[in-house]
Amino acid sequence: MSNARTKRLTRITISAMTFSVLGILVALELAFGSVSHFLFAMVDGLKTVRFDVITTNIKYLLLGPPRRMGGIVLTLYLAGISLVLAFVVGLIFGLMRNSARAWIRYPAVAYIELIRGMPLIMVIFWFVFLLPKVFGYVIDDVYNVIIAFVCFSGAYMAEIVRAGILSIGKGQMEAARSTGLTRAQTMVYIILPQALKNMIPSFVNQFMSLTKDTSLAWFVGLFELTTVSSQVSNRVLVAPTEIFLFCAMVYFIICYSLSAASRWLETKLQAGAR
């Protein structure tokens, strides 16, 4: 059985499935005319697109209301601050999660499982309603939401840190311990520097998903990208498609460049490790 023949057979199966999908589309077209109808409807829809809505409101869409942080700036601010603080939380809980002592490990496990089992929107609601009770006075919703993002993202960061530490391998720890370093010294001077370097792409990925998650601040009415565009949509009333697609495009540009950066970093760091 030659390699070439296996390759050919795999290719044939995949193209057979591809052609069956195409065949279904052609059959739909011939039977109901629905494919061409769909395309014509899309073209008709494209004809009615009103770009003037975007161009007249571009400043508000990107920067939000005047004399206040909003729009794209607030989105990146929320994501950035939360990422930095969540890194601290994640480092602490990731180290706790890796600890050999049960009374240190289990609180971290409980925190991580609790947060990972909840939808982000529930976390945000908890903090928005709980923190005023705890502090005794109402603080700005921006801070409530940042605390919620830090708590939520910290659990995912802890898992990243844990995976990064596990990926370093036992040999390093044993070698360092046998030279006379303590566990803590080994962690700080030997394991963490290597592990953190490996984790950089995951951090960039986390920044990307945090940027996407900041759209949930719409539920509590912060003036970030989603809220601002839904405001404009409610004011203009006739052009929701254009406005939300524009908003999606802005998010896409940010997130796609971040994920491309993460992929680039991954290959670069792998090349350095060899």
Binding site: M1, N3, I14, A41, I121, F125, G136, K212, P240
Partner: protein, 289 residues
């Protein structure tokens, strides 16, 4: 015999190790009591903050003013809606995701580009914006047949299902593609050299392995889908999170409603991650990554 404190401590640790079942719950209990005492000391004595909130879980047995149903039945309805929207969406997303994964693996450049564009667009934009695009802005793009069908349904629910399944399909497509590509080509060659036909080696060698590798990420995606389904409250589907907001708004019992809903979500996610663990324990023993 006089023992040093250190020896006593070591003996204590040995006892706790040999009596884990008794010792750990005791520790947890003592730790909780200590935490409560520290909390009372710091919060109420030093910071002088008095949190007075009396939990009243009988709120769920109260009747709503709008109709004569209780809040418990509303909660149950929300739970069922979450389950229903997740179940329908995961099935649709699997079908769509498999098709897109196969298209991405095909050799036709246009189809590869289209499927990659689909995956990148849906992975790199927030779900909330996608829900808004489907619900408020899909009107010019959808053909009349589809629109008629959707308007004959529960509209919010239908758009919620569409948004969730198209979003999740992008993630599932990547998982399935990675699963198919993770089986080394030599497996197929080895199976063929044993005398299996192509279909037999697919059936007995390749697909069982690919399936086992793909299933845990797929269960994980369905867990994510259950959590993401809370976002369709933005367009007014009455699911679990929306029920929490309704109870909070109508009775102003914030923490009862939220803790109940949180517990339900936690139970769901624990059940699903238990399923993943059992699956890994039973089927993934022999597969080395």
């Amino acid at each position: 015999m006089k023992r040093t404190p250190r020896e006593l401590f070591i003996e204590f640790r040995l006892w706790t190790e040999s009596h884990k079942r008794i010792a750990y719950p005791l520790f947890i209990g003592v730790a909780l009591i200590l935490a409560y005492l520290v909390y009372r000391l710091v919060i109420t004595r030093l910071l002088n903050i008095h949190i007075s909130y009396n939990f009243d879980f009988s709120v769920f047995l109260r009747q709503r003013l709008t109709d004569k149903s209780t809040y418990l039945s509303l909660l149950l309805w929300g739970f069922l809606t979450t389950l229903r929207i997740s179940a329908i969406s995961i099935v649709l997303a699997m079908v769509l995701g498999t098709i897109i994964a196969v298209l991405k693996l095909s050799k036709i450049k246009v189809l590869v580009f289209l499927s990659s564009a689909y995956i990148e667009f849906f992975r790199n934009t927030p779900l909330l914006i996608q829900i808004f695009i489907w619900y408020f802005g899909s009107d010019p793009f959808l053909p009349q047949v589809v629109k008629d069908w959707i308007y004959s349904q529960n509209i919010e629910f239908a758009y919620g299902v569409i948004a969730l399944s198209t979003y999740t399909a992008a993630f599932i497509a990547e998982e399935i593609r990675a699963g198919i590509q993770s089986i080394p080509r030599e497996q197929m060659e080895a199976a063929r050299s044993q005398g299996f036909t192509f279909l037999e080696s697919m059936r007995y060698v390749i697909l069982p392995q690919a399936f086992r590798i793909v299933v845990p990420p797929l269960i994980n995606q369905s867990l994510n889908l259950v959590k993401n389904s809370s976002l369709v409250m933005a367009i007014g589907v009455v699911e679990l999170t929306h029920v929490a907001r309704i109870i909070e708004a109508e009775t102003s019992r914030v923490f009862e409603a939220f803790s109940m809903v949180t517990l339900i979500y936690l139970a769901l996610s624990l059940v699903i991650s238990f399923a993943i663990n059992q699956y890994n324990r039973r089927f993934l023993r022999y597969i080395k990554y």
